[in-house]
Every structure is written in C-alpha cells, then in structure tokens.
Amino acid sequence: MRRILGCFKVIPDLELLSEEDWIADDNNLVDTSFVKSTWNVFDESALELMLRLSEQSESLNEPFSMDAVTIGDKISEKYLKTLHALGIDQAVRIECRESIQFSPEIVSGLLTEYIRQKGKQDIIVMGTKTADGSSGKVPQLTAEKLGYPCVTQVIAIEPMEQNNIKITNITDTGLCIQTICPPCVLAVGEAPGTCLSVPTLKARMNTKAKPVEVYTAGQLLKGNLSDIQKETVLTELTAVDEKRCGKVICDGSLEEQIEILYQSYLKGKV
C-alpha cells in the first residue's frame, strides 16, 4: 500500500491578537499564549487534499495509508485526534521544547529524520508556509534533504493509474497540470474550498482510544538542535505598516464628491 504523510503545524490564531498585542520580547517572540490555537491554513488545505486523494484512490484499488505528523506541544494532540477520526492511520507528534518558529532548517531536519527513521513515504504534503513563521522554505528544504522533487503552490491532487498522481499548481504563467510519479513533496498553496472536513462525534468516539505517537527532537536527531546550520538568523521583529494610502474627499457637494471619486479612482476600474 502506498503511503502519504501530511505535515502540519498548529499555530496561535493570530487574527485574535489586537495591534497592541504585537510586541516582541527580548527574544524576538510575541506572546501568543492567551489566544486559541488553530490549524495553519495552508496545512489544513494540504490535509484535506490528502484525505480527498485517499478517498478517490480507493475507487482505483490503489489505496493510500495516511499518516500525519506535527512538531508541537501537547495541544497539537487534540488536532491529531481529529485526524484520527477523519481516517488517518498513524498520528505523530514531535516534541520540541525550543522555539523553532523562525528555523525552517530545524523543522525540515526533524521532518526528514522522522521520515527516514520511521518509514519511507511516497507522498509528503504540507502547506507552503505557516502564518506565524512564514519562511516558505520547509517544503523545499525537506524535499532537498530527502532527495525528492518538490512541487510548490499545489491546489489539487488526483490519483491516476499505475501509482501516478495528477498535480495542479499555480505558476507565474498560470495553472500547470502535470502527472508525477512519486516519491515527491507537495507544497500546498491557496487551494480554494479546502477547509478540513469535520469528523462526526461517533467517529471521534470510535477512534478515541487510538494513541498518538510521540517522539522528542533528541530521539530523532543524533546531535543537538543547535548543531543544525541555520541559513538565516532572526535579529529583529518590527511591525509592518499595512495602512493603505488614501485621500479624504471633503470639498463640494455630495454629487461633486462622487464625481471626484469616480474621476480620480473608479474610472477605468469599474
């Protein structure tokens, strides 16, 4: 049976942070401990595409076994339990006590070691980036370390005969549809309509006893995390001013203001 691995990250729901909460401490970290966690949205899409691929593969009699892995704290296990209820065979959490939010080399290193040591995977799917770290490097680095090809900005995956898969991804010149023979790493981008399915309470009850496998970073890596060479080092966090430039139209009557708005902004756009 072919194997597919979904890699995901549980992140703080950054939308719940107010502007005043975005204050970096001495270690360049923003305190997000008081907001609820959520799926990283790109990983959520990747997991949903994985579920759909598995479901479609059953009709071709070439089924996948599905595993999921995350690097995170105990809270991540709630998410792994959800994946169990959605049909994931093996749910794995890698415990890493150090902050690796801005360390794609360590994240990809841990994922690679897990894959090497715990079993070859045919397809590895993950989001193209996370909302909190946002390096966008983890899929490529993982692919490089494993020696697999990597397809980025994937928005659809379909099973094909003879163990191939059809990938749709977004490129600079438009949509690209290609047939790929695994193994490969797929970095899922903004795939519309791919919110993760919700398991029923019955499915949750049925899989409640299924254990989550837990490994520590130390178990997977021979040396220390600090031995991993970082290509980039975080030195400073500053807020990005995202205000759009604008102009307040004050002069004249309402009709005249509408005319100014139309002539100076809307004309040619509507």
Binding site: L16, S33, F34, K36, V198, L201
Partner: protein, 488 residues
C-alpha cells in the same frame, strides 16, 4: 382583491420615492429569509415565498403610510433593520410581501447626559451608537454578539440581550420610551420617565413584538458610565457541569452583580479555549466603579473556590478572548466559505430555566439530540445570562449535512434539533426562547410555551393587527402541523 407584485410596487411608488423601493430579483430572494435557514442562504437556494418589494423608509410618516397601505390591501409586512435575525423572523411567509426596512432611519436624536438617556432612530447601528457614547465616557450597557450588525429597532423588537446582562439587564430593562406605529397608522409615543404606575407597562407591547404587532421607529435607552479601566476578569475550570450551575447560582443568590457570568460545558469550551482540556469553564467580569468591581471579584472568587474540582486560570486569557467574541460581516463571510467547503454547519438555540431544572434541560436535550439526530459533530452549550431565580442555556451544535438536498436540510437536521430542545424545555418547565425571539421556527411551539396565557398574546395580536398583516407566521404560525410541528 389580491394585488400583483407590479401593482404593489406601483402603490408603494405613490408613498415613497422610487429609489426607496427595490424590486431586484436577487435582493428579493435574499430578503425572503434570515439566518435560521443558514444552509439555504449559504447555497443561495430560496424556498420561501418571494416578497414583492423591499421598501427603505426614511421617516415615521413613510412607515405609517406603508403600513396603512399594506393594511388596506391585506399585504404581509416584514419589518426589519439590521437583518441579524436568526429564528426566521425575517422570512416572508406570504408571496408578494413588503419588507419594510428602517435602516435608513439612522439618526441619533439626543444624548441626554444629565438624565442619562439617549434617543435614537430605529436604524442606528448599536456598534456605532455605543462607540460614539464610549468616547464620551458613556455606554448603553447593551452588547449582544450581533453588535456589529444589529440596529436599535430590531434589538427592541426581538427583546434582545447583551453579554453584560447580569449587571445591566436585557433591552427591556434599558428601554425608557419609544415611538411605535401600528398597522392602522396610529403613531404612539411612550414618554421617557424613570418609572410609572399608571396601569400596565405598555412598553412591553412593543418590546419583543417581533414585528408582529407594530413597527418600532424610535427608542430611548438608559445610559451608564463607561469605566473599562475598572474591569476585572475571572476564569476557572470546573470538573462537573451541575456544580458549574450551582456555582453560578451561588454568585447570584449571594447578591453579586458581575456584568458577565458564563458557564461553558466542555464541548462548547473546546471551541474557545485550548486550556480547558475537556473541562467546563466558568468566566466572570466585574464592571463599574473600582470599589464595587474589587469587592465583586473578591466575592465571586471566594464563592467559586468553595466548589470542588475548580482550577483558576489566568485572567488575561479571559480578557483577550472576550475582546474577539463579536460577530460581524467578516465572520459571516468566513463561515459561508467553511460551510460550502465542508457541509458542516453550526447553529445555536437559546432557552432558559429556573435553577432547579436548568441542568436537566441541558443534560436531557444534549443526550436526546446525540441519540436521535444523525451526523452530529458537536453538541454542547453555555449559560451566559444569569438571574436570581435561574439562568439561560445557549445550546451550540454542529452537524455535517450528508446525503441531503439543500432544501431538505432544515427538516432533516435543524428543525429536529429545535424540536428536541423545545420538548425538553417544556417538559421541565423552562422557556423555549431566551433572547433570539420566537421567530417563525419556534412559533410552532407557542401554545406549549404560553399555556393558558396564550389568550393574552392572541388577544394582543387580534387587537393591534386585526387584519393579520404584521409579519405573518411570527409569534403565531400560519401553517401548523400539530402532529409534526417541525414540518414547515
């Protein structure tokens, strides 16, 4: 003679300007329902009769004339303002109804800081009003989750309640006076006074009438000092839900007045708090002058810690969580995308009961829903409004819509869950509606809800709306299947 859609639009054109009448097909379809039929709304499948026109009234005079016109010709009128209704109150139960929209009547008429009251037209958005008042150190004290959407007329008409109700009360405790218009064109102004004993309190004919008796055009509300610097938040986990209700009761019975007092069961808590870890959650907020908030918080803390299985949580978590609780257009758009992608839908039903039955209502309704309704993905709830003699229960439930055409979702799932909840509430002696209004869905249980007092409701309807043109099917259903009340 029944007027055609075109004739109705033509008649309305003699009352208001043409640009105040909308007959666009898409707008009419969207105006035929509210968020009770969220699944249909999301899929843009419209099963309800389509109205003839949406009329945007700009004055008392225009509302009066439209109502008189409809009354004369027997046309159903659905009053609305902010369109945040979720119990079917905005559904047009008859073909070629008039949807009478008061959102254009959006002037704040007077902020009377000396008498501590504010007068505003029905279309004033609550968020805008309260933001403006807060800049002046004042507040209405009314803060429902629909605050970013709701407008004053609808809030009064549905007998709304806010998240700080345990201190400030429901909208019925805040309304000082108002202007309302009946279908015969009678404009009634109820004057602004602190209290009177001149017969029945006639404010209550309009408050909660759900557009089935009159149209609310103007409201005067009480004002309070806004002192957020004194707010104190408290949070706890508690092992046992029944103990949680007892803890709430303890706080109320001892005479404390937190602005917020909430109890989440573990299922509902899982939607909000990572730290709850499958436990129930108690949350309080003390508001007001510094000395009072300090004493309130200390008193509540003492009471709660006297119960078994209680653990305190960091108050900052509660404060930050609460800041992101309201629902606005962005959340609704996001929810629509999720429903379309997953076919998973989340709905709420709010009820109330005295302390001696609220746990039984909660427990038995949750159990029955899980036993009788398929494809449930979450069933739980919270209490968020407490009183000296009882509290509410806000059931929160999610389900996957499976093997079911869009138009059948309502009878396969939503109406069934509603039925179970109503049956259990009636059985234990609670009320089937705490603050969303009966609307059209729960109107089918109005006889059980009112019992012998239904005579009073029916008489009010007959007296103030003898032709039955005001929001047909709301409060009292027009088509009712006694054996299968969920089939509508």
């Amino acid at each position: 003679m029944v007027l055609t859609r075109e004739a109705i639009a033509e008649g309305l054109g003699k009352i208001v300007a043409c640009n105040q009448i909308v007959t666009d097909e898409k707008v009419l379809k969207e105006s035929s329902l509210d968020r009770y039929r969220k699944f249909e709304q999301t899929h843009e499948v419209y099963t309800q009769p389509i109205p003839a026109a949406v009329v945007y009234a700009n004055s008392t005079e225009e509302v009066k004339k439209v109502l008189m016109y409809a009354n004369e010709h027997g046309i159903n009128v659905v009053p609305r303002t902010g369109q945040s209704a979720i119990e079917g109150g905005l559904e047009t139960a008859r073909e070629n109804s008039i949807v009478l929209d008061g959102s254009g009547m959006n002037q704040v008429i007077a902020v009377d800081e000396y008498n501590m009251q504010v007068t505003a037209q029905c279309g004033v958005p609550l968020q805008e009003l309260d933001d403006m008042l807060r800049e002046q150190g004042l507040t209405t004290g009314h803060s429902p989750q629909s605050k970013p959407l709701a407008q004053l007329g609808g809030l009064v008409a549905t007998r709304s309640i806010g998240q700080f109700s345990t201190l400030y009360g429901g909208i019925e405790d805040m309304v000082v006076g108002m202007e309302v218009i009946f279908p015969n064109g009678e404009v009634c102004r109820i004057k602004n006074i602190p209290r009177r004993a001149a017969g029945p309190d006639i404010r209550h004919i309009a408050i909660g009438n759900e557009g089935a008796l009159c149209f609310v055009t103007e409201v005067t509300l009480k004002l309070f000092k806004y002192q957020p610097e004194n707010n104190i938040f408290l949070g706890y986990t508690i092992e046992d839900m029944k103990q949680g209700f007892d803890a709430l009761r303890g706080v109320m019975a001892e005479g404390f007045k937190p602005s917020m007092a909430r109890l989440y069961d573990a299922a509902d808590a899982s939607l909000h708090f990572d730290w709850a870890e499958d436990k129930n959650v108690l949350i309080f907020m003390a508001e007001g002058p510094a000395g009072i908030t300090k004493a309130t918080a200390e008193g509540i803390d003492r009471i709660i810690k006297g119960f078994d299985g209680v653990n305190e949580v960091n108050p900052k978590i509660i404060e930050k969580w609460f800041a992101g609780l309201n629902w606005g257009p962005e959340e609704i758009a996001e929810e629509k995308e999720e429903i379309l992608a997953t076919n998973n839908i989340g709905i709420t039903t709010e009820v109330s009961g005295c302390w001696d039955c609220i746990y039984e209502i909660y427990e038995s309704a949750c159990r029955r829903v899980l036993e009788e309704v398929p494809d449930m993905t979450l069933m739980g709830g919270h209490s968020s409004h407490s009183y000296i003699n009882g509290t509410n229960m806000y059931f929160v439930y999610y389900y996957n819509v499976v093997d079911c055409p869009v138009e059948e979702e309502i009878t396969k799932y939503h109406n069934q869950i509603n039925r179970i909840i109503c049956e259990e509430v009636i059985k234990y002696g609670g009320s089937i509606v705490h603050h969303h209004g009966l609307g059209k869905a729960r109107a089918h249980y109005v006889w059980e809800e009112y019992g012998s007092s239904f005579y009073m409701l029916e008489t009010l309807k007959k007296a103030f709306d003898p032709n039955g043109i005001m929001n047909m099917g709301t409060l009292i259903p027009v088509n009712h299947d006694e054996k299968n009340p969920w089939m509508f």
